[in-house]
């Protein structure tokens, strides 16, 4: 099978890679680009652990063929923080509030939640609790019962608004 | 003599008794003492039981030391999730 050459922007950088036409974007990110932050929890778009932003929209990377990324602008969890050093000084407010609010236990769903929450706050800086819950309804977490995730998104929204 | 509470499923091996007395400085010695009076009980107890002693459950009670006034409760082995 011949591999397709794909060029796109990933986390702000021009990127290119080769992939079989039937390869999922998730597999391409993880295996070709070494971006293993997005996880495969189901492979059928039900759990959201593979969430990435494609031109700003939350997308299950397991449901997209790699060639569909051609020319698109992708953001993965690895691109959320800016120049994150080991001190964590440059974490995105969502990453910081997730840490402070204990919004993760095992952490395997966390990358997907962070990406989906960023998309929400980009579009709606002041969401209600109910809007947060519906915006994150495509992301499954089995450890936390969602309480601390919702509260951490609320806190990040406050911080992002006050930073403007 | 230590006081020993048997699990319901083992009582038929001890003549129907729920509570028996036994001698020994360890739970293992108590089990051996019981087996002299109730042949077969030792094998059943060692096949799968923990022991509650002084409010603590010991998963492997064989060598746990007991005093003459100790009360030993044999209980089902517990595993977690």
């Amino acid at each position: 099978m011949s591999r397709t050459h794909i060029t796109c922007t990933v986390n702000g950088e021009d990127t290119d890679f080769l992939a079989n036409p039937g390869t999922s974007l998730l597999d391409a990110l993880r295996d070709e680009l070494g971006l293993t932050g997005a996880k495969e929890g189901c492979g059928t778009g039900d759990c959201g652990a593979c969430s990435v932003l494609m031109d700003g929209k939350v997308t299950c990377a397991c449901l997209v063929f790699a060639p569909e990324a051609q020319g698109r602008n992708l953001l993965t969890v690895e691109g959320l923080s800016s120049g994150a050093g080991i001190s964590g000084d440059h974490l995105h407010p969502l990453q910081q509030t997730f840490l402070e609010g204990a919004a993760l236990q095992c952490g395997v769903c966390t990358p997907g939640f962070l990406v989906a929450a960023k998309a929400l706050l980009d579009h709606n800086p002041d969401p209600t609790e109910s809007e947060i819950r519906y915006a994150l309804a495509g992301n499954l977490c089995r450890c936390t019962g969602y309480d601390k995730i919702i509260r951490s998104v609320q806190e990040a929204a406050v911080q992002l608004r006050s930073a403007k | 003599m230590a006081t020993v509470h048997l699990m319901t499923q083992h009582r038929s091996l001890a003549g129907g008794e729920a509570v028996v007395e036994a001698d020994g400085a360890t739970v293992g010695q108590i089990i051996d003492d019981l087996d002299r009076r109730f042949p077969g009980l030792a094998a059943a107890l060692r096949a799968g039981s923990s022991a509650g002693i002084d409010g603590e459950i010991h998963a492997e009670p064989e060598f746990v030391r007991v005093q003459p006034d100790t009360v030993v409760y044999f209980v089902a082995p517990l595993t977690g999730g």
Binding site: R30, D31, L35, T36, G37, A38, K39, E40, G41, C42, T44, D46, V77, E78, Q95, F98, L99, E100, G101, A102, L104, Q105, C106, G107, V108, C109, L114, E129, I132, R133, L136, A137, G138, N139, L140, R142, C143, T144, G145, Y146, D147, K148 | H5, M7, T8, Q9, A18, G48, G55, E56, I57, H58, A59, E60, Y73, V75, A76, T79, G80, G81
Partner: protein
Amino acid sequence: MTAIENPKTYKWVGTRPIRHDGYDKVVGKARFAADLNLPGQLHAAYLRSPHAHANIVSIDTSKAEAMPGVKAIVTGDDFPALDITDPNHDVSINVLARGTVLYHGHAIAAVAANTKAEAQTAAAAIEVEYELLPVVLGIDEAMADGAPLVNEHNHQKFVGPSDPSNIATHTPLERGDADAAMAAADIVIEREFDCAHVHQGYIEPHACVIDTGADGKANVWASSQGHFMVRAITAAVLGWETSRIKVTPAEIGGGFGGKTTVYLEPVAARLSEKAGRPVKLVMSREEVLRSSGPAPGAKLRIKIGATSDGELTAIDGWMAYQVGAYGDFAGMVGAMSVASYKFPNLKLESWGVLSNTPKTAAYRAPSAPHAAFAIESIIDDIASELSMDPIELRLKNAAVEGDLTAMGMPHPRIGLVECLEALKASDHYQSEPAEGAARGVAVGFWFNIGEQSSATVNLNEDGTATVITGSPDIGGSRASMALMAAEELGIDVYSITPVVADTEAVGFTDVTEGSRATFATGKAVVEACRELKVELCRRAAQTMGVDEAEVEWVDGAAVSPSHVGGEPLTLAAITAQAKRTGGPLTATASLNAAGAGPSFAVHCADVKVDEETGQTEIVRYTAVQDAGTAIHPSYVEGQMQGGSVQGIGWALNEEYIFSSDGVLMNPGFLDYRIPVASDLPMIETIIVEVPNPSHPYGVRGVGETGIVPPMATIGNAIKAAAGVRMTSLPMSPPKVLKALGDAR
């Protein structure tokens, strides 16, 4: 760093620092097993049984072997046959079937190839001839006289017949005279309940990467709740010496009991050995649901008698748990059913029953949730018949220290009364339910367990410390270990690096299960730190030139009253001089912990029932639980909230649906629906702290109990809201609608 609350005299215990492993998890760097790739790595895939019960007449792998990219194929014949009395016998024939498949999805063969797609294509090309056997799916069917055998290798455990049987365990528990007490009771309520199989639903599928080298040694990276367990079972199934295997724990993406056993590792190790290359083996979600270990389904008949003033006098119960195709299941079912109330008279009969469905595994507080659903539902009905407040009825009968558990032994100090009082005083219970909603409460408990743990604490030359344990961290236990070590040593929690080390770098440690990590491994950490403090004082005495007996460890420094004019010697000052004063400062503690403290919980839910659709909406939810001592309160709350929501899913949505020939019909998260954020309100928490006298900081362990009360809590709220008593889990809309229709 985050603000720190400090309600106690402790400096660190009870505070809420950011967990040490958190940073890697929010930036996508944390390495889970499926994230790892090795040079030259192959990918493996399974062939699984399309039948729920069949003899394997023949397996022909010749076509598959000739396919592109294929490097190795294994079947059951590639593994030694373990004796039926071997404790690993069942797991050995579960990882790859030998002669007979016992459930739909049972693994038959596995292929390693250059790519996953090649491995999958080749696995599908393996030809198997089957001879179909009768499929047994239900408890009644399996227990019937003359029922076909589910698994010819199963014999009843502990006490029982030596012939093959569909019964795994039969455990009677009796005290007093339940029949006489029942006859004398003013009120007797008896009901029958059933519970569907449910799955732990961890988001990370099982995964491992294994490299078996030319020296015959296997390097294993695996997702599990216990890497020493992985090593032991893998060695046993392969017929290897334990020392041939090194297991490095990857980050684990949820377990809840489901990762306390092994599915992949012996298979991947043998493939790697045959191919001479590293092998990666990852389950799909469908494989997880079809072929890992769900929790048992159950059928329960429970009868409870009480006096007219609300004293519970007798319980008579028959409980059958459907444990799947193997009898590898502890006989603790009855023990986990009754411990919350005094019940002077008790007669319980519990059964583990086989069926041609996947081998079940532990799921958070194994076997307690089913029984609590039944018992707490009936207790609620008694309260309502007697027009008593459901909390008052429970307080009247609540077990305290010295009261007997179902197993016969008296409770140590427990905190059930404190939990009931805390709920009674809570804002939730003191407020009226919202318009259209009604309230339910229920109690739950779990004993918790101890088991073996090891810890090594190394003091570094700059005064920092490394705390090394063998307990995989599934919910923040590294932070708890660091907090206890910081408290003991008197240094900053961020001066401590908590590490979960591989099987060659730390002493043997049992699985992270039964809420034992913070209790038992924490105890080992504290012991090692205390040993170090004695040594630190000895070293300080040398330096100060004072008598060792006069030196005390206070706030992270050695102080001596006779060290005139001298400053206290800090930990960093002592470690800096370690070379001069006797060498490295390190201590190891290993133990088999007894004295795990039972943890009780009381939950309260306000629900609305849509009488047109049968849908139940949770409007408000509060979980109260005795943690003993909360080392890191945020993660204690997290355990309570997570357990509550898993219980809410169990109560309302989740169930394994099998076809009549034993095929799971909903093997994905779309149809096996776990709760999502929009289904839920906030989960309010109240941590009660009645310290466990058997732990240096009073820890009880909190992971298990949270899943026990929700089903009855919600069932009781549905009864209050819609007037129907639901006795079948899940209480899904069709069942609620039917109950509403029947009641009209």
